[in-house]
Symmetry: C2
Subunit: 405 residues, 2 copies
């Protein structure tokens, strides 16, 4: 009877993390690595976070309430109202990062074998959570050559089966950089109302929006109040990836109640980092403005450099801090590993995420990589020098065929 | 198609936490509450933790590696070797508290519908994790009148079905305070070898052992190297419940690999609190000695007071900091709520956990409560004054019938 469970066997390795041993080996050989594989910004976490942590008068680091420290819930609800989301602290469950908020949402509304429709390429870890939850991801292809635009509603409708319980969108999108329009979100709302589906919005990149329109939250979709679930996190907004503080926000009391019971089973999110986030929530708006302009500059730098490389195809990128791009290569897994174990340019190399891990459809993304533009422009320029040199000599180079796989 | 998933509906509320709204209401009325409902010690967290946190030079709070900060893994493996567990950092996955270590263990070795045998009364949150994982808890009754002694191996053997994949023991035990003998652990080892089962040891209360024998870890059971999984946490050992740092430790590479992939899906345990724990690991042995003697004194105080109350039955308590005791009451859920919403003694009341939530068998524990003796002796004395006064006037008082339900 020994062995692993089927779900453990099916659990995919993270495309963002699986090359870590090759990176460690390269570092051990003295090679400098530009980390464009993971959405870990280099922006300093807000001073308010560090101050709150350093000045806490606690001497016993106790559990917090399972749904989070009340002051944090109140304060974050105030922030949501300030951006037009009419919710109160009673609509918020503090979670151990967005990851846990997503797990709670999936576990609450989907049973074993139920299906969630997710446009792909998709945030790779969705597949991990779905696998752990025994839930089936029904991918809906979007295409690089089409700027990863959301498919028409008829494509969503065709993907619905009797087991479909929810649609999940990441907006602004990881790994695509797409930002969905207000019209698209309303069309999804109508579809969810028509078919009685939940709409889960992963909105952790809300502040990283380079369009002129604000990101349309699922919580603002009129008529969908009982079917909309928002996933949020401080990781990207405040450059607090390591804090592991996120939020599940919904007006549906049954879901809040189920999420609370799940939260009770794991007792508490991290207390000290919640205290820090209470401080971070006082961060002035200028911080976000500066960060957005910085990332807009990085995006422009990245796109300019990539478009100048022969055989590289870059879609329009409107949000988040990722680009999924086509390279003139045979196999993105092989290429990304080769960058680490067989290549360097003046003692430097670059770590990227193979896009195959962001598709649920087998074979898709074979000549695409995800690039996280989380370094400042001068460093990005250097990293692009490395990538350009790598593409010139990569043994598996071939001209990109492009188009739909 | 709307509604909640079956598992969300089945997810039990925490017996430790579900009375929180009544406690909040009592506090709002000005009633002081002795919190004996939850294993939250009042012991200060080690100075080494606070110093490491306050002195960190970080300005960006980044993700840590998914399996934890390497220095933390190395240091905790050194601690394990110092207590006779022959493991290295490669055998350790740092988790978001013991809760997540347990989830990873269950998800790794049990599929939907598989069974895990757990002596009951059991740590209530095991039921929550099992429910989320779609795993069936096969409870094996132990009895207050028998000091919650582990049943004979033939009882375990009788509970094994073709779906049984693992046995889970909490040792020292929450909520029973039982400490299993070396002979008992070896008998479990033989059983697991005979039937090809995993043995999961939740050993987070290792330091709270009032017997003369050390706690026998599952990792020391010869021959069981590939089938033993240890769950650990800093929550109790260092009074760091809010840190959410735990460990999954095993020599089974397949389980480590599966747990790592699950860890990658949620990216990282809390970084700042891992940094603090690295500091906490330098805590001198005298800290644990002092803490153990303090809790031994509390246990003695609690037992003395409870045994002096008519109709109260207290088993032998050898470890952890809980006592599950029989009270002369009709219904422990009703009694615990009544303590909060209808009773006070000189403006004070006591919060306890109804034992019903610690049994998987319906109806069991109806006249039992779990008491966490996490307050210093003078406060415990006061809390026992309150409990004694409450039992004298509780409208649902009845003489305990005792014996096996």
């Amino acid at each position: 009877m020994l062995g692993l469970s089927k779900r453990a066997q099916a659990m995919p390795p993270s495309p963002i993390r699986k090359l870590a041993p090759f990176a460690a080996a390269a570092k051990a050989r003295g090679v400098e690595i530009f980390h464009l594989n993971i959405g870990q910004p280099d922006v300093p976490s807000p001073e308010g976070f560090w101050r709150a942590v350093r000045e806490t008068p606690l001497d016993v680091l106790e559990y917090s309430p399972s749904d989070g420290i009340p002051e944090l819930k109140t304060k974050v609800a105030g922030y949501y109202r300030s951006i037009g989301l009419e919710v109160g602290p009673e609509n918020v469950i503090v979670t151990t990062a967005g990851s846990e908020a997503l797990s709670f949402a999936l576990l609450s509304v989907l049973g074993e074998g139920d299906e969630v429709i997710i446009p792909e390429p998709l945030y790779a870890n969705y597949i991990g959570f779905a696998t752990a939850a025994g839930v089936k991801v029904q991918p809906l292809r979007t295409y690089l050559d089409d700027d990863f635009r959301l498919p028409g509603i008829e494509a969503f409708e065709a993907a619905i089966t009797p087991r479909t319980k929810a649609i999940l969108v990441c907006n602004p999108g990881n790994p695509t950089g797409a930002v969905y329009t207000s019209d698209q979100m309303e069309a999804l709302r109508d579809l969810c109302l028509k078919h009685n589906l939940y709409l889960i919005g992963d909105e952790v990149y809300r502040d990283f929006n380079y369009t002129d329109e604000p990101v349309r939250s699922v919580l603002t979709l009129e008529g969908l109040e009982q079917q909309a679930i928002m996933i949020d996190s401080v990781s990207k907004r405040y450059s607090l990836c390591g804090a592991r503080v996120g939020f599940l926000v919904t007006r549906n009391k049954d879901i809040l109640d189920a999420a609370l019971r799940m939260a009770q089973a794991r007792l508490s999110p991290p207390t000290l980092e919640q205290i820090g986030v209470i401080g971070a929530l006082d961060t002035p708006a200028s911080y976000f403005h500066d960060v957005r302009e910085e990332f807009r500059h990085r995006r422009d730098t990245l796109v300019r450099r990539l478009r100048a490389m022969p055989g590289v195809k870059v879609p329009q990128i409107n949000g988040a801090f990722y680009a999924t791009v086509r390279l003139p290569i045979d196999d993105s897994d092989r290429f990304c590993q080769w960058l680490l174990d067989s290549f360097n340019h003046n003692g430097k190399t670059v770590m990227l995420a193979p896009a195959t891990g962001f598709y649920s459809t087998p074979g898709a993304g074979i000549d695409e990589v995800r690039i996280a533009y989380v370094l400042r422009a001068e460093r990005l320029e250097e990293a692009m020098d490395v990538l350009e040199a790598a593409l010139a000599v990569y043994p598996g180079r071939r001209e990109a065929v492009g188009g739909k796989v």
